[in-house]
């Protein structure tokens, strides 16, 4: 148990580093680049995303992953949550991974973004538990 846990921890660190490195090199950490994607003035980021999805789709076909990836219901949580996320993304320029990558790059203003992300993440539990009571699709 101990040994495999350390292996997972190490893998997580390496995979995270590859993600952060890639997000930075692709330009997901740059509001200039992201904005160009959103207003269709430069399709490079769109192609990155579409390409990654396409490659993943092929890989999932070829590999025996079974049904390890869960399906998400299409309900108000999914739709409203995604809308809120999209608004925040265009407003801050950062999805959660990109915000962390910005910090790594030295973009100190990302601290404000991250402070917001943390606040929003923490607020969700009490707000959903007490006010909304919408199903979360997750028990673990």
């Amino acid at each position: 148990m101990k040994r495999s846990a350390r292996w997972r921890g190490g893998s997580a660190l390496v995979l995270g580093a590859l993600l952060g490195f890639s997000l930075s090199r692709i330009g997901f950490t740059s509001y200039d680049e992201l904005h160009k994607m959103f207003v269709f003035s430069d399709l490079r980021l769109v192609l990155v995303f579409a390409g990654a999805v396409g490659l993943s789709a092929i890989a999932y076909r070829l590999l025996p992953l079974g049904r390890a990836i869960p399906t998400r219901r299409i309900d108000r949580s999914t739709i409203v949550g995604s809308i809120l996320f999209g608004l925040g993304w265009a407003l801050s320029g950062a999805c959660p991974g990109a915000a962390l990558a910005q910090l790594g790059e030295g973009k100190l203003f990302a601290l404000f973004t991250l402070a917001g992300i943390v606040s929003g993440t923490l607020a969700y539990g009490p707000v959903n538990g007490r006010l909304l009571r919408w199903a979360t699709d997750s028990c673990g």
């Binding site: 148990m1 219901r73 959903n128 007490r130 919408w134 199903a135 699709d137 997750s138 028990c139």
Partner: protein, 77 residues
């Protein structure tokens, strides 16, 4: 919610619930699946806790009781 119509909407948290694999495979434990996961899952203590955004421990049963925590003390290699 779904009691009156008689239709059974299964619990939306099934795929991520740590206890669901045990409930759905072992015949003896299927009684939990039939009474909670596939019936009135809103009664499930695990479901309720997850709505509050709190961590749902492996040892929490749908009826709110907890499995004894110190079951296994030896390390697995």
């Amino acid at each position: 919610m779904a009691e009156a119509s008689g239709e059974r909407v299964p619990c939306p948290h099934m795929t991520s619930c740590e206890l669901f694999p045990a409930f759905s495979q072992n015949g003896f434990l299927r009684v939990w699946q039939i009474n909670y996961c596939e019936a009135d899952f809103a009664r499930c203590a695990r479901y309720q806790r997850s709505l509050r955004g709190e961590h749902v421990p492996l040892t929490l049963l749908p009826n709110g009781k907890e499995l004894p925590k110190g079951i296994a003390l030896q390390d697995r290699k």
